[in-house]
Symmetry: C2
Subunit: 81 residues, 2 copies
Amino acid sequence: MIKAKIYVTLKPSILDPQGKVVTNTLHSLGYSEVNETRISKFIELNFDTDDEVKVRKDLEVICDKVLANPNTETYSFELEK
Amino acid sequence: MIKAKIYVTLKPSILDPQGKVVTNTLHSLGYSEVNETRISKFIELNFDTDDEVKVRKDLEVICDKVLANPNTETYSFELEK
């Protein structure tokens, strides 16, 4: 079995309104040293196979077509056996 | 500056309907070897300080009170200087 850990993150140039709200909330709670918040998705997929080459190839397609919005997001992943 | 990387994950006993939808979608696309998907939040906070002890203490409160729902989610974090 292979576990894939995928990070789907907004591109740096894209405003993250949810992160902005968290930053403002933390400031209003007194945590003034927090200067930026980015909120991303962290996705774990379990594959019932040990073929790492195929999983990497499949993941590129899965991220491009299902998990990430290529207009606003980037992704990266790592595999664990 | 300290960057905190926070993972907010559903407890294993809590159903993840969003993950279930992704699993079903991947099956219908032919990726039958995917047997489980868990979708979590990945949050990056930048702190304008180098006091790691204070940041760790603040983060425990921030995660408990703002970022995670203690009824359904758990969290973990790591710090980067």
